[in-house]
Symmetry: D2
Subunit: 252 residues, 4 copies
């Protein structure tokens, strides 16, 4: 039974929408309007009609569906192959306070928030207000707003000291902020970076070494899709060749 507060996925052949249900509200599509109240009380798999008679199936989106198809992208998002690994590599778990900067479109924030619940928090620092605003709407759609604190500032601003259990940094010139990042991390806390170019990797490693970080790991993750045809099984013709290098280290 679908209830207020649930996020539902409406789909027809061409379009799909993610809606967080609230009594009394109305969702407008170019095929007509749907009062949220007409969805509340239905079951997943049921159909709902707009006031013009156009039909949508109501599906229950997974967290993956929301991240991949639901969130509004105002930046390149960190893809599941990377965001899942980052979250596990940093050991994100219940009760941790995690530093994140920038927030991007919130895709990684959601994955990390899923891991710190119920008693941890993701602290996001983002200098572009439009990204911050969009990311927070995405995080709300996914239902994780209570696990996220967001600040409109960049890493040149003071951070809480000796506070974070882990951190992830996705900004263009992270080497400028290593001292500030280090001070904000607890002893032994892991930190990660996403960097598109080899030059950025070298420059970041150099600065991390200078500030005494240890336990370095530099990896890249490649995901290859196969055509799911049992008697003609083969990889797809093309694939994503690069999203970014991942650099990990630990504060000593």
């Amino acid at each position: 039974m679908i209830k207020e507060g649930d996020t539902v996925w409406l789909k027809d052949k061409k379009n799909s929408f993610f809606i967080k249900l609230k009594k009394g509200e109305i969702f407008g599509t170019h095929k007509g309007n749907i009062p949220h109240d007409e969805i509340i009380g239905k079951s997943y798999g049921d159909v709902v009609q707009t006031h013009k008679g156009h039909e949508y199936v109501i599906l229950k989106p997974t967290l993956y569906d929301i991240i991949m198809y639901g969130i509004k992208r105002k930046t390149q998002i960190i893809y599941p192959k990377d965001s899942a690994y980052i979250t596990l590599k940093l050991g994100i778990t219940d009760g941790m306070n995690v530093l994140e900067s920038g927030i991007g479109s919130g895709a990684l924030t959601i994955v990390m928030a899923n891991a710190v619940k119920p008693s941890g928090k993701i602290y996001c620092y983002e200098r572009e207000e439009k990204y911050l605003k969009n990311a927070l709407e995405n995080i709300k759609l996914a239902g994780f707003e209570e696990y996220v604190k967001a600040y409109h500032q960049d890493l040149s601003q003071p951070l809480p000291e000796d506070f974070f259990d882990a951190g992830f940094i996705d900004v263009r010139e992270p080497w400028l902020y290593i001292e500030n990042i280090k001070n904000s991390l607890k002893n032994g806390a892991p930190v990660g970076f996403l960097l598109p170019t080899t030059n950025q990797v070298s420059q970041t490693l150099e600065e991390l070494e200078k500030y005494g970080f240890i336990d370095f790991e530099v990896v890249e993750i490649l995901l290859r899709h196969y055509k799911p045809v049992p008697d003609r099984l083969r990889p797809e013709d093309r694939m994503v060749a690069h999203t970014g290098y991942l650099v990990f280290a630990r504060k000593k």
Copy 2:
């Protein structure tokens, strides 16, 4: 301040141990004994001595450290590059009831348990008692035992019907159990499989099609390590070329 119930990581140059602390217990190494009480109350980064005077540093292990270095492996484990992606692709989140079979050494179980907390559970079905026993010890070490229910049975036995929000299957011949798996899943629930050979992928896809599953994805994930040397940055000489193909589908 380290307290009872914490899992600590003792390290010297050669060896490392993960210990879940309990007042009154004694941890024995070949370099001498350490009462847990001597660790409780210390801080991370401190040193503790055995009764023979050998020193270990006390570190705070991350969840990643426990999975990679702490758990006892009686089977090939599902590596972070795969377990992290599986957990996100299946959309594992708070409150979900998740089917897992077999349990292996519990590495994936821990990652999924981290995502279903605080109100969900992983239900593990394993036919080898020795694997089950070892996995449960590993899960306890990681601190997730309250989120895991384990059964000493295989997938040919009856499962709860229309119950699971997601499932992950890592057994040699999953195609034998597709009907049973399907009945146990809720409508729309995603299910995944890890399969080492292309023949297994073909046979599993065929059976999934026969039972009306939809939304297929077949992928493989490659992780390449780089030598973290700023002025001589390059990939490692060798890498893992294959762990397994991942097959995902959704019950319709």
Copy 3:
């Protein structure tokens, strides 16, 4: 000094043409005509004008340029990453008689012909007349026609016995012809196959085993391009994920 018989590469900003020069002939473009005689005697890097005054630079194409940009493609070609490896893995060298079927657009034929010269030959068997005709024109453009013998027949037809020093097979169902192929090869001769799907690989390996072939190798080759920017070095965003699996074996 450019002379008759040379293959030249005419280029403007948008288009490029490969022309094998012959006295008295005229090359027509939609920007006007160019008598071959106006190119003969010039130097590479010089400019030639059409009768309408449009200019083309005259370049000396490498064999690679001819294969990648010069040949007319009526089929998917075997790309350099694969054709180069195939030719080396089969040990193609001076004096060898090599079996090839089908001929495709002749891209692999050219690479192998380059290796058997001056005293060997590539014997091509192709059942589609239109492919055969096109491939032969491509081979002539590259200047290797004297090293290629082509037959309009498929592998179900009799082949010379105990004759070939090596073979390469790129047809949809090679397992149907293994006995015929085996009889045509000399003792110890290597043979290769290009196969897009894993099912084809399994079926071909099975048949090769049945006929007593030895020294199996199954590989796939991935080529990743980088953006050639010194201070922002990184892989391209996308890459070819699959052309085909390569299977090699040796007649015993």
Copy 4:
């Protein structure tokens, strides 16, 4: 019928030897001696005995066998996946004069010599005498000595001007010699580099740009082996993750 001048491959269960046959000579193994004359006149597949009665099978090695198993390695060799692509990408063909430095163990030299025959030549510049000597023995074993000219000097020494149709450079600091290399190449000639680290790639690209080279390509080639088992087809567990980046450009 095996004749003088042929290179044969003697194999028992443990060892294998490549021998270039010469009447009157004797080949010594730790299992006894074999006069070359006892091999000359036999057929491939036949057996030959040492004077102590130990048996070896006589096989006909392919060029690939000689490169992979026959040549003595005093350096890391350039592997077939790379050497084959390099040779094709540079468009190496009959009649070309090709610059190579260093010579390494001659593996690439042999592959390129195979492509320039019968009227071209590979010009090798190597500063380490011991590498040069070993490479020349390897090249002789493969039967390509007439297509190779070797010099005991490095790239800081004068090279023939405006002479080479293509070049391949595998030295630690190629950026030191770009001007010299450029002067030695003909207009439009392609040149390639093998470079293990990203820093070397950046530095080489920078210098090539400075000297006006065009048509850059930076690639890496990955080769993945599969276990050749028809009903359990899957990649090998481990693979080579990196040999080197390949950089190509053309003199303008």
